[in-house]
Symmetry: C2
Subunit: 313 residues, 2 copies
């Protein structure tokens, strides 16, 4: 049985726990919250009684892995402390809020011989693998429009004077870190590390990007990353090849994918996928533990390092 | 009767002549081609007998206006010579192939008090005006994805070793000049001149961009220009506001536009539009002649200058 500890009690932690409970070999053994009452309420939903309020207790426990979904700016100190306590860690994206932080996190993971992976879920989805498998059909890939724009009700709050984590620079907020990393990670996983990047943002009054874009220049293609927390997008994303294009409904969940060829014909390439999209990343992480590998060969340390480097440039 | 002369005998000139013949006050009086036979064949289709092979003859004629659709690199010398001969000119996009060329063209037009307009058609379309009219409905505009990617059969030729004008740097070829100017012009007309731009291209063996992208950074929004002659796109373009987004099928013809609001409701805002999309720019140009105005207040000299400056940066 893999004993799991959880840091963070917001919505995404619920989704993670529900994913874990679908996997037979997993049990949720410990919940961390700075606020004991909040941790207790979260634990009660899933029958977890072991609530702790210090990271040290997580480190001293017999947990096999820890899932971290605290505010972005807090990841670094928690991950470093727990790596040093030899805990395997699945850390929500973005791992850290600067290139330096992320480099140091991987260095310490390597030094302590423990598994560390960024919880970017889209690269593990069956529909991501379907894209990889079918990519050859559209010929040489020349263009990518990776677009993730989702209006946040927190932006309404912000305009009403209420600053929440997601738009607060102190907590590593901003559209780039919260949402831009999805299409960027997608691109780096599928097309590799670009040779050059340029970008632009519209910075909100709180000091973080509300909407922005990055151009990735490759040797033989152009990828375009577009992200927003202050608008919605309805056109999806698109991989453009010399023989056809792959249309993708959502870059984070990838529920519907189809190819349109240059002769106008269409081919659906969607495969069945569980509703809870976090199961796949967790299964991949458990597989790393089983194999005693410190690094994923899907969400590699190189990709994680380059994503934070590019998005914060 | 407005007497029109035509430079260039390719497909776009056919479309222009057919637009002109739909307008009662217009007559096509002269065709210029370097190759007399080609000019004659073109003229025969429309009953035009006056074929000339030198620009000087166009200048000495009694034509009221000249429409120029020669290869991009030739626009400059032809426009300058004809402006000095006091001819009013509607010149296909891109007007020139460098900022210096375009600046000089407008200077000479001003000096000679003749009308000069860039034939960018999309800004005159009824559906462009429908976008302008309805733009307030989506709240503060924060994002624009202006995407025009159209595979050219000339690219197949290029890969087979046959270099045509469209991919030849000597003739001002390249996806940026041929197709990138459409979404860029659209953005500058709708949102104004950006404060900063960055971009990237994939350069073909012939030396011109095959696909590329530009980010326009405004004070309070981000616009993204994406263009390609070596791939197709099927997702269209999108203007993103804080209350909803406007989805645009084609940035050059704009035949279908609809708003999706944040509550999921949709509103079609398409208006009827003639199939020949060049009629509207010609009517606007004729109106300038009637009003004896040298510059359009839609396709302004400032926009034309900034488009070529940004796209060739």
């Amino acid at each position: 049985m893999i004993k799991i500890g959880i840091i963070g009690t917001s919505k995404i932690s619920n989704q993670f726990v529900e994913a874990a409970l679908k996997i037979e070999s997993c049990s949720i053994n410990m919940i961390y919250s700075r606020n004991y009452e909040k941790g207790k309420i979260f634990g009660e939903i899933y029958g977890v009684k072991n609530i702790v309020t210090s990271i040290e207790e997580l480190g001293k426990s017999d947990l096999d892995m820890i899932y971290i979904a605290s505010p972005n700016s807090i990841h670094f100190s928690q991950v470093i402390e727990l790596l040093k306590a030899k805990k395997n860690i699945l850390c929500e994206k973005p791992m850290g809020i600067s290139e330096e932080e992320v480099n140091e996190m991987f260095r310490v993971a390597y030094e302590n011989n423990v598994t560390l992976m960024e919880a970017m879920k889209n690269t593990f989805l069956p529909n991501f693998k379907a894209i990889q498998k079918n990519l050859y059909k559209i010929g040489e890939v020349r263009g990518f429009i990776g677009n993730f724009s989702q209006y946040s009700s927190r932006y309404t709050d912000l305009k009403n004077g209420d600053l929440t984590n997601i738009f607060d620079p102190k907590f590593g907020g901003g559209a780039h870190l919260d949402i831009g990393v999805y299409p960027l990670y997608f691109a780096l996983r599928l097309f590799g590390i670009p040779k050059k990047t340029v970008g632009g943002n519209y910075i909100l009054n709180s000091g973080v990007p509300g909407i922005g874009s990055i151009i990735l220049e490759y040797k033989d293609m152009i990828a375009n990353i577009f992200y927003s927390k202050i608008t919605n997008s309805y056109i999806g994303s698109e991989i453009q090849g010399e023989k056809g294009s792959i249309l993708i409904d959502s870059i984070s969940n990838i529920k519907n994918i189809r190819i349109i060829y240059h002769d106008g014909s269409e081919e659906g390439i969607t495969v069945p996928q569980l509703e809870n999209s976090m199961i796949y990343e967790l299964e991949a992480f458990l597989d790393l533990l089983k194999q005693k590998k410190v690094e994923s060969d899907v969400n590699t340390w190189e990709i994680s390092k380059n994503v934070i480097k590019i998005i914060t440039k």
